[in-house]
Symmetry: C2
Subunit: 168 residues, 2 copies
DNA sequence: TATTGTTATACTCTATAACTATA
DNA sequence: TATAGTTATAGAGTATAACAATA
């Protein structure tokens, strides 16, 4: 358990981090802003999935996901095929074109990171990655009200969503 | 120097971090969104300063800073007094009301962080803070000094700002 | 009646550019 | 001519709510 001053300092760094995000976002092509890039990345890593699952992984409302996906679909980078098991659902998957786009993005962002972190040790990069992963998990867990010890496999519940509640 | 896969993983965590930011932003009162909170925090930490200095610390364009500051001034949380040494400039400083507001914000965000990071060790919190500070520095440095390849020596001047260039 | 996904609307943050008042 | 700050405009991301189709 840390002291208040430590949390305040951490908050300041959280706030300052947005400058880093903006800098990384500047190298993105105008037809593929950060929201779109995030979708491509998740599909590349986890493969085809339902809209609801995608929204969950993005931690945004499904309405937001829907917009991002529509944007990418218009450009031919992904397809939305009907889910045979549930006609309300759609399965989102990358097209070959989308995969190529993802490769390009990954290439350029990786290169920028490598430049900026040129004097970071391998271990430091790994440690920052680990701590940010843990940070995300800490926020996700408490959002679902899980006991503060046993970190259940994050995002394990396939039914959990972040969508807008239906009007009752 | 890390490998490409490590940078890709780090990028994913950068992307996921926005969910943490949004969660922290949700507890902010509607009359004091994150941009305003950042200004209050900087003034609380570094004291009164010029608009240009504030923009630099925020790493945003001065036009953005101007809007945030105007928002806060309307609510009586800060004042903009003329700079005696340069009549074009204005010195921004917290009012007692603004200081009180800052205390409230700090209190609530600190508490939320303490809850979410309840099972983090003191050392881990410090380490994450350190690495994020270093991250910001790595990006700031390369923006000013380090010539990665052959970028023109723009912004090398210590007075450099992030403002929109004047129309020539 | 509840859920999946889409769309309309609104709000915040940001950058660019034009403008003013000083330097 | 250049700089400090303001304002207008536009673009991106997000949430809420209302809606259609299906479960």
């Amino acid at each position: 358990m840390a002291e208040r001053a430590q949390y305040e300092e951490l908050m300041r760094q959280f706030s300052a981090f947005s400058a880093v995000r903006r800098e990384l976002g500047r190298i993105l092509p105008s037809d593929c802003p950060s929201g779109s890039a995030a979708v491509l990345t998740l599909l590349g890593r986890f493969g085809a999935m339902r809209m609801s699952r995608l929204a969950e992984l993005l931690s945004v409302d499904m309405s937001v996901t829907s917009r991002h996906v529509a944007h990418l679909a218009e450009r031919g980078w992904l397809d939305r095929s009907p889910d045979p098991t549930d006609k309300r659902s759609r399965i989102v998957h990358l097209t070959p074109l989308g995969l190529a786009r993802l490769e390009q993005l990954s290439e350029s962002t990786t290169q920028l990171l490598a430049e900026r972190l040129a004097d970071w040790s391998d271990r430091e990069v790994a440690e920052l990655t680990r701590l940010m992963t843990r940070l995300r998990a800490s926020f996700d867990d408490s959002r679902v009200a899980v006991p503060p010890r046993l970190p259940p496999p994050v995002l394990a519940d396939p039914e959990a969503t972040t969508r807008t509640p239906a009007n009752t």
